[in-house]
Assembly symmetry: C2
Homo-oligomer: 225 residues x 2
Amino acid sequence: MKSLAVSLTMRPLECATTGGARVHLNPHCEADMPSNDPLIPVVAQDVKTNNVLMLAYANKLALRMTKRTGYMHYWSRSRNKLWKKGEESGHLQKVVSLHTDCDRDTILARVRQTGPACHKNTYSCFTDTVFKPEDIFETLAQVFRERKRAPKKGSYTYALMKDRDRLLKKLGEEAVELIVAIQNRKKARVTAEAADLVYHVLLALFTAGVSLDDVKAELERRHAT
Amino acid sequence: MKSLAVSLTMRPLECATTGGARVHLNPHCEADMPSNDPLIPVVAQDVKTNNVLMLAYANKLALRMTKRTGYMHYWSRSRNKLWKKGEESGHLQKVVSLHTDCDRDTILARVRQTGPACHKNTYSCFTDTVFKPEDIFETLAQVFRERKRAPKKGSYTYALMKDRDRLLKKLGEEAVELIVAIQNRKKARVTAEAADLVYHVLLALFTAGVSLDDVKAELERRHAT
């Protein structure tokens, strides 16, 4: 089944008004929330990394306020009241999309998180670590680290690691081969040559003590300006 | 607070025995599960992509079986019984790690998912789509698509897109500059030159109709053999 991306269009606001960035609730309305209003779990996910930031609960009012304002609102079970995430800490969650699950009793909220998501000032409520998705570039980096730690006879990677001149000559050669492949307009050849070049660039960076994350951060800086 | 990665070490098994890959529950023991055994939500996350696959519930027995077998077990609220995820469909979830949240009433399970996670045969219970983490490479690809769609005067990207020879000469030039920087052993210079090279390689691949995903798939194929 296709997921239902909950629409973020404006709806009539029954229980609250907004003034600037702040939300003013009608206290009468909030007090009137029936305690048996079904609460459903909401998983908040960081759109930047796909990491799970926290799980909290929402009822109809919290969902309405979330859709109305574009910022995550939850229902606090301990305080039995509406809770705008980050209202006190400033660690707001801007909604990117809301998705219900197959039986419509859970919501996945993809958000842009300001600051740490957890009230204990950690990145997420589950871990300090930002989990990286498994990725061939990360797998290659692990192979490089392993070859450096435990040299392996007959390993091409290890042979290039030990011979910087040979590695850099290969890098130049692979760049030229990619250029020729692109000129020849053969997609499969371009893909294969690009894979060769990428492998040698990553290995050369590794031997120079530069990570792909460093390079990405440099590209981010340029993109930002 | 540091997350508590729940240990996956073997523990005495009170309510079930395993025979090969199958788990045989003691029916008496299962029937004896108190209905007020607290159920807590478990968020299952795909370690390959970090996408959220599903949310289900576990009690002590389900957690014990998960730790004992290394495969996710949940407690079905509708059937009021233990449920080994994928037992019928074969769509098992091999546990990589379990993490409790800051107030220890939710679990994040990082898993290797076999097949679709949702019983409706979709990748996850929330969406058909595998959400990609935001990434500078993806951002650059978006810029390339946008420049192709709507040419922008004064855009360096657009200028290179229109002039293949110039783009490929730049690619060669940047490769040589990276090689020289690595020879000179200046990390900041290496990072900057690698960023230059990566940008030009990505743009050259884009003009050749090859995506970074194609290149990654090629590297995966090689890695797998």
